[in-house]
Symmetry: C2
Subunit: 204 residues, 2 copies
Amino acid sequence: MNEQSPRKTYHHGDLRQTLIAAAEEELAEKGLEAFSLRGCAKRAGVSHAAPAHHFKDADALLSALAAEGFDRLRVSMTTAMARAEGGLEDKFVASGVGYVDFACANPALFHLMFGSRRPDHEHPPLSDAGGSAFGVLTGNILAMTGRDYATDPAAGEDVIAAWAMVHGLSELLIGDKLHLPEGMPREAFVSLISAIIRRSGPRA
Amino acid sequence: MNEQSPRKTYHHGDLRQTLIAAAEEELAEKGLEAFSLRGCAKRAGVSHAAPAHHFKDADALLSALAAEGFDRLRVSMTTAMARAEGGLEDKFVASGVGYVDFACANPALFHLMFGSRRPDHEHPPLSDAGGSAFGVLTGNILAMTGRDYATDPAAGEDVIAAWAMVHGLSELLIGDKLHLPEGMPREAFVSLISAIIRRSGPRA
DNA sequence: TTTCGATGTTGACAATGGAAAGATTTCTGG
DNA sequence: CCAGAAATCTTTCCATTGTCAACATCGAAA
């Protein structure tokens, strides 16, 4: 997996994307604390200074990775919604489960996206991706309550409550703070967090 | 502030505690990403290798600081409860506000306590401090519902929901994800998050 | 008083991110 | 088709960091 067959061409071909993939591997294996740019370069099979031609510095690479993360977070929410059966509230709860599932499946990436100041969260590729994911939540609140977060301040409490709940669940699960029963079956897990997410939803 | 008058004695006197204080300064100013052990030593006015006699490595210093953080988090919750007027539910909500306040006042420390794998969270001084803070929450749930988290699994959902909510609020606020109105008065802020925290509480 | 452990200092090392300069390939305008 | 320019990659270099080892200093107990 880590072996790099020496490439035939002097130029890599698609180093930029390769580096992002390498960064995700590096992040998942070593965590954000021990993340190393040189490690990414090694994984991609290039010299340690090569990334500089594609990313201003290590943080710029992490920014690009974080943006990809937000895209995938959004997809995780929307696909969970699509699979859900039932009414609007069930879709809403399902999107929250998708949020938590993403976090649990990609703890280090999630940490990069929400808990780190290394990525530049103002840079459009990243802020846009984040905004799109946020849009799934506000869309659900709009569908359920008829209140538009963009124009109606009264929607704020619903949006914040729902987001805080799924986000808090994610962080606590990732941080291993909730000592759930060892071999808790997936079904029971989904049932538990669904009930909790439902609590945060708009009042009927 | 950063000036170090050369101390008169070869030995420092209380370097261990001074280093923890220095670490908190370093953390608050530079953030966990740029935290440097040598920077702490400089703040404390000792050579770069001096900390080794008090802490095995940089992570051990961060562990001690995190433990202090959990103590202060617990105090922030209990004092907020003590000041609160009203019934059990109001006390519960107040403790949540204390949790969020602590996070907002100490963002980098909070990040160290919950979002980092650098401290050794299994080490008793740290795990005990965390457990004590957790006990404030479970105590409130017990008072409100009569169910004991330690013995009654049915208390689990209440505890997790409440914790996830205040924790998610804290993380989102710290991460500047919630774009609350610029000069939002303290009163309105407390009112907003109190309403949200109340949502997560046990069903009446 | 002497000795020894605790505490502090200096010097060294490897790893890291980043800058500078050279090498190789590809692109572009004639 | 070809020379020069631009892009991409490598090598070399430097400052910073965490950690280790060796040495210096102090204080307390024998």
